[in-house]
């Protein structure tokens, strides 16, 4: 069953690097991460790679396999022919630390800029009541394992480094949508979505949805509805009139002062 595969793996650090060639044994049922581990154990003990659960649940082992963002633990070797050369490179959008390990701190900084969940102040723990059908929309987005492959592939940052200061990428636009759709959340994040997270940068090419290992419909179910709600607030002339008669939509409060990126 076993064979010897040709691998090309990017080795280097922030100063630069190059593709290195390897010949390595492959056994039945293995995934790309197994082969990287075999390289570590037999040929390149200091080959740097992040991984953790090895079951597609933690989102640590993101890399680009033949140019496509993939979780290495979920990429079966049987999807390649035995003759094929397999090229593994680090995620391109984030700065390289070493080999396949990149600096993903951008994502954690953006996460900190999303105004947190805020339930009604007078609702006691244990008294939360929500219908299953109402939590399911946000639950879809909470399947996210934070592999950051959507933010890696999104051309608004992949090809435009400058946009990193003003655009948070699909992951955090989806997080805003998730909180927005939470049945008991009280905060209005529409202005924040525009001003701090750059929802307008997304032009709906759906690259994020294509690479999502959890098959979350990021564009259709999160970003487009968010764009619609933002547009609703910004351009709907009825909105300003109707707001005279009720508190703003669904009684939500404006987000508290949201800190800006300091990077």
């Amino acid at each position: 069953m076993g064979y010897t595969a040709k691998f090309k793996v990017w080795r280097g650090d922030s100063a630069g690097g190059e593709i290195e060639d390897f010949s390595v044994d492959v056994n039945e049922g293995e995934v790309v991460l197994d082969i990287i581990h075999r390289l570590q154990a037999t040929q390149a003990p200091d080959l740097a790679v992040r991984w953790n659960c090895k079951a597609g649940k933690c989102g640590s082992c993101s890399a680009e396999v033949n140019g496509k963002p993939r979780l290495m633990c979920m990429t079966r070797m049987s999807t390649f022919t035995e003759e094929e050369t397999i090229t593994i490179t680090p995620m391109r959008t984030f700065p390289v630390i070493r080999d396949l390990v990149t600096d993903v701190s951008y994502n954690y900084e953006k996460a900190r800029m999303v105004p947190a969940f805020a339930p009604p102040a007078d609702l006691a723990p244990g008294d939360y009541r929500m219908a299953q059908i109402d939590v399911e929309r946000s639950q879809e987005f909470r399947k996210c394992i934070e592999c950051f492959m959507c933010n890696n592939i999104c051309h608004a940052v992949r090809d435009h480094e400058d946009n990193k200061t003003t655009f948070s990428g699909p992951r955090f636009l989806m997080r805003i949508a998730e909180l927005d759709m939470h049945p008991l959340d009280t905060v209005d994040r529409r202005e924040v979505a525009v001003e701090d997270h750059g929802v307008g940068y997304c032009n709906i090419t759906k690259c994020c949805t294509e690479v999502c290992p959890e098959h979350i419909k990021i564009t259709d179910n999160a970003i487009i509805p968010l764009k619609e709600r933002v547009a609703d607030k910004k351009y709907d002339p009825i909105f300003s009139i109707s707001s005279l008669f009720k508190r703003n939509k669904e009684g939500r409060q404006p987000a508290p002062d949201t800190p800006r990126v300091t990077k």
Binding site: D13, N27, E28, G29, E30, V31, D34, Q40, A41, T42, P45, D46, L47, A48, R50, W51, N52, C53, K54, A55, G56, K57, C58, G59, S60, M74, R76, S78, I97, R98, D99, V101, V104, Y108, A111, R112, A116, F117, P119, P125, G126, Y128, R129, M130, A131, Q132, V135, S138, Q139, R142, K143, C144, I145, E146, L179, H182, D185, P256, D257, P259
Partner: protein
């Protein structure tokens, strides 16, 4: 000595899974400055792997449930060797800890009346596990992570600095705890990214490092599970207890080889899945032990009726506690009734419609489809036992989680006591929340009461640095990866699911050889993100933990929960009275016996005397008869 980055905090938490994060939230709410140190990125800890749910007697699905029933189930599952005080606190506080998660933004699956839904699980009398499909651990860790972010946002609004109160040090490994005058004083470690060293000076340290799975070959644990907390605690002068009790989860994947050991959630059985052997027999009916015979169905018909009518039927034997199911599978395979890849069949495809399977078990469907090319809505899974959890752990005070070393606390899997000899599914996530919070509180109170902060010295740091750099100056040509593989095989084969004296003696001899080999293992490359070096350091922890496991296992001459002796197949009421405690003597692990405190009378009254007779010695039995109405 090189320049070493120095940080000063009130509380340093090692580990960022459920226990570590809940501890951090609590210590911060108590006004303390907190560092969270973790080996992986923030939000990637092993808690994400938990599938089934959080056990808490909220009574949302069956109103008969309450803390007393949960307490009883936990003690029964642990075969009465649990710390009854921890089991009591756990059962009482779990519902509050779950409801609290909703205030942080968690979105659990709901009941028709909008409450948190609860599912059935092995050993739990009523539906008790709060869950989100089969990704409950991800929901837990993300919720806690997001709560921490929200606290950082509060701190930012107040001080202009996100990290004023809580700072996260991701991808940092701790190699040594620092102590001054027999008290915790901080921790020393390195940044995985750069290889640079870092010192955390802190009067209180909380261990929340998880388990020891990577000492075994077939395991559901990730690379992080190298027993760091257990080894750090023992080297610093604290103790571990009952390390012989290791849970082999009955259902890990067995094929393909690269995913062998990866968990298949117990929810598959809770939701209707059945275990069959190669002859098509639903064999669990043949393995109902005497102590459980009143609670489990004896025919397939009754078992199948239970799903719809649990009040008038007994539970299917597939839902026996995990130790029983794992041993049964092991026996079936050894008797030649296994599957082609050495497991048994777990089938849900003939029991539930495809759309229901995909709704209730989405990540299992995904996992088998992607990793094994098996569609679980159409065919059975092949499963077998996998090393999943260590019930033993660092010895702690049940209320504060403080270890025997003042200022050092432990919570979650790294601590011992709550689960006795066997943990029930779902009791781990609730353990993390209940005792993570208690550890955070305990540490804050300890710091509050301390008259003066301990001060670490340059000499201590120089020693710690030399220890961490040793693998670079070793001269031998042993490969750390090879030693690790040999250690895993040794533990799996000789101190595994079924144990016998001669094999464990053999294992202990080999562990001594591994210690020598580790000293001869050299590391190539530099200090920047060098996994070979990281493994060489982790190996020292794994070896000490493996020795503790082997010595305790050899010592305990009975079979109970996660410790099965071929040569002592019976449970012994005399051994139940003893904790086996391990400490480090400078060379390795040494053991001693410590009596377990008798259970408080009001708790003992929750059980029938007839049931207690199966576990306790005659002198321990109460004079009351509680009857069967509890």
């Amino acid at each position: 000595m090189s320049e070493i980055e120095l940080h000063s905090f009130d509380v340093v938490i090692i580990g960022a899974g459920g226990a570590g994060l809940r501890a951090a939230i609590e210590a911060r709410m108590q006004g303390k400055r907190v560092a969270i140190v973790c080996k992986s990125l923030f939000g990637k800890a092993h808690t994400v792997m938990a599938e089934g749910g959080i056990a808490a007697a909220m009574g949302n699905v069956n109103s008969n449930d309450n803390w007393q029933v949960h307490f009883r189930d936990t003690m029964r599952g642990g075969k009465y060797l649990n710390s009854w005080r921890m089991a009591e606190l756990h059962a009482k506080e779990a519902p509050t800890r779950v409801w609290e998660l909703e205030t942080y933004g968690a979105l659990f699956d709901r009941t028709p009346d909008g409450k948190i839904s609860q599912r059935n699980f092995g050993g739990h009398e009523y539906p008790r596990l709060a869950h989100v499909g089969d990704r409950s651990g991800l929901e837990l860790i993300r919720t806690l992570q997001q709560k921490i972010v929200s606290l950082q946002q509060e701190d930012f609004r107040e001080t202009g600095d996100y990290e004023a109160k809580i700072r996260i040090f991701a991808e940092v490994a701790i190699t040594r705890l620092l102590t001054v005058d027999g008290r915790a004083a901080g921790a020393f470690g390195y940044f995985r990214e750069t290889g640079d060293f870092v010192t955390f000076e802190a009067p209180a340290v909380i261990l929340a490092t998880g388990g020891i799975g990577k000492t075994f070959k077939v395991t559901s644990g990730s690379w992080e599970y190298t027993g760091d907390g257990h080894a750090l605690a023992m080297r610093a002068g604290a103790t571990t207890l009952n390390m012989e009790f290791i849970q082999f989860h009955p259902t890990g994947m067995v094929w393909p080889p690269s995913v062998k050991g990866i968990l298949v959630t117990e929810s598959v059985r809770g939701d209707g899945g059945v275990l069959t052997n190669s002859e098509g027999t639903r064999f669990m009916f043949n393995y109902i032990p005497d102590v459980f015979k009143d609670q489990y169905a004896t025919t397939e018909e009754e078992a199948d009726r239970w799903y719809a009518d649990p009040d008038n039927n007994r539970r299917p034997p597939e839902l026996l506690p995990r130790d029983e199911v794992a041993r049964a599978i092991n026996t079936e395979v050894k008797a030649g009734r296994g599957t082609p890849h050495g497991g048994v069949y777990l089938d849900v495809s003939s029991r539930l419609p495809a759309d229901v399977i995909k709704k209730k078990l989405p990540s299992m469907w995904h996992q088998f489809k992607e990793l094994a090319d098996v569609d679980i809505t159409k065919s059975a899974m092949e499963v077998g036992p996998t090393c999943h959890y260590v019930m033993g752990g660092v010895e702690v005070d049940p209320d504060s989680q403080e270890t025997l070393l003042p200022g050092l606390f432990a919570a979650g899997e790294v601590s011992g006591g709550l689960h006795g000899s066997n943990r029930l599914g779902g009791n781990s996530l609730s353990d993390l929340l209940v005792f993570g919070r208690r550890a955070g509180l305990g540490a804050a109170e300890y710091v509050e009461a301390l008259p003066a902060r301990p001060v670490v010295t340059d000499a201590m740091l120089a020693e710690a640095e030399a220890e961490a750099l040793a693998p670079f100056s070793n001269v031998g040509d042993e490969n750390p990866y090879t030693i690790h593989a040999d250690l895993q095989n040794t533990m799996n084969d000789l101190v595994g699911i079924i144990r016998t004296e001669s094999e464990m003696v053999d294992a202990l001899a080999r562990l001594q050889e591994f210690k020598v080999r580790v000293k001869n293992s050299s590391v190539k490359g530099g200090r920047v993100f060098n996994p070979g070096w990281h493994l060489a350091l982790d190996l020292k922890n794994m070896l000490l933990v493996a020795e503790a496991v082997a010595r305790a296992s050899l010592d305990r001459q009975e079979s109970r929960g996660g410790h099965t002796r071929d040569d002592y197949p019976k449970m012994s009421a005399e051994w139940r009275k003893l904790n086996i405690v391990c400490r480090y003597d400078g060379e390795g692990a040494v053991i001693e016996h410590k009596p377990i405190q008798p259970m408080r009378p009001d708790l003992l009254e929750l059980f029938d005397v007839e049931e207690l007779k199966k576990y306790l010695t005659a002198e321990e039995l109460p004079t009351h008869d509680a009857g069967s109405d509890h």
